[in-house]
Symmetry: C2
Subunit: 93 residues, 2 copies
């Protein structure tokens, strides 16, 4: 979970995920949405990929990024367990 929360701990990378939830995009298309250098966006994409939050497919010169929901489901589960368990214990007291 470490690398996932590390990857999520950045506004730019979270915004990239918000873009990718709408549609798959190339690195360039993604970079166009930001004022950072392409190298910076590329680096952020690498961190997302390393955390398994996105996956890639090569299409000619382009590299197409898309959201990978598997790890997001795990994180969601962890958070919901925090919430639910807390609520359970509240009932008892």
């Amino acid at each position: 979970m470490n690398i996932v929360f590390k990857a999520l701990n950045d506004q730019t990378r979270r915004k990239i995920l918000d873009l990718l939830k709408e549609k798959d995009m190339s690195a360039g298309e993604i970079a166009d949405q930001f004022d950072f250098s392409r190298a910076t966006i590329s680096h952020n994409l690498e961190l997302l990929q390393h955390a398994d939050l996105v996956s890639i497919v090569k299409k000619g010169q382009f590299i197409i990024y898309s959201i990978n929901t598997t790890v997001l489901n795990e994180i969601s589960k962890w958070i919901v367990e925090l919430i639910d368990n807390k609520n359970e214990n509240k009932k008892l007291s």
Copy 2:
């Protein structure tokens, strides 16, 4: 969301939340579960509090920490939207 993800981006702080989901605990009880100094745990508790992930009640000399689920619900919602929106768009293609 920035300070929330920042607070969640640390194994120690996530473990503190895992402890607190079971029951409310004093700063000392929490610190006893770790090998770090009390000052370090206190600092981590401050970050959790600043992110509104925990709330406190003073009980004599003790300060009792408990999970605050409000922000967790927001985070959960954001993540589930990433997952759901992605799945919606997959159907279309």
